[in-house]
Symmetry: C2
Subunit: 205 residues, 2 copies
Amino acid sequence: MNQQYSSTLLERAVDEFSKLPGIGRKTALRLMLHLLKREETEVDALAESIVRLRHEVKHCKVCHNISDDEVCAICANKMRDDSIICVVENFQDVLAIEATTQFHGLYHVLGGVISPMDGISPADLEIQSLVDRVGKGGVEEVILALSSTMEGDTTNFVISRRLEAFPDLKLTVLARGISINDELQYTDEVTLGRSIVNRTPFKAS
Amino acid sequence: MNQQYSSTLLERAVDEFSKLPGIGRKTALRLMLHLLKREETEVDALAESIVRLRHEVKHCKVCHNISDDEVCAICANKMRDDSIICVVENFQDVLAIEATTQFHGLYHVLGGVISPMDGISPADLEIQSLVDRVGKGGVEEVILALSSTMEGDTTNFVISRRLEAFPDLKLTVLARGISINDELQYTDEVTLGRSIVNRTPFKAS
């Protein structure tokens, strides 16, 4: 069938919604029929929120975290310890570490890990900007908080090599309390919190 | 925590999305981070599709099905047999019956079934407009295709009473191949198709 529903408006909305990951056509239809029962203002607010998010959200120019402003709330917070930088893959990892309330330094969001299979090279990540941040001085410790996967380990290694130029810098990794091959963002808060407290000096193997 | 994320734009979009049924905050966050990686035009198209759906969609003035126009594509189709009207609860039931390809008449979408528990009385449903349609003449058969629940049976009974004014009208129900307490829209196509072919005369018990 070319057209499945009696309304092309509905057809189109279901098409668009089912492009989202994990949303099939049945779910999209259920959501659209739900929206049809809501107030127009509610639907407008939903639509506006995603348009504004996409058009107006920025990445912090210091740590590259998702932000409303040029500099994110964490980097702008004078109460945070700017001598420690925690290097993470993505925004969800910042959320996960913040939820532990064990870390009071700043972050550096790489935007991924090195993965030749996915065509992600060191140049695609915010590694140079990390080196630049450390180069400006005042940073005493860099915590490598990447997932304990092969890609994470490779990225740790590449970063450690780039930071060898700063011999006084303390380079640490999260304590191995996190099981191998686990994704950081799905680790429970207690384990993740403890692994920040028990972080250990980095040794390139 | 008052604010969970580093961006109020993200916070708001997640809030709005997690209002949808079956979408929690974790899923909403995952969807929003996905949208941040898409082109702006794609996100705009998604937003526009739901706004247009909510503002522009109509209900067919004949059968009350969801439609782009005053009269829906099924009612406007000259190839369909306008002497048979199939009465259903909602739009999904039209979809389910259309998917069987066994029915070539028209529909009448009630908008629900009588349910005192949910405060739905006969006056809240499109029952009078069904009687008016039959009253205009040309209708030979009305198929009652409601879910085989107590509410569906009650609604069948009320409709049959209202249609007693037309002694020549054939009143049928779907063949009882559908198991009791099953929702029509979740019935498999074969069973549903056979129950349309084997429809039987209605007897008020």
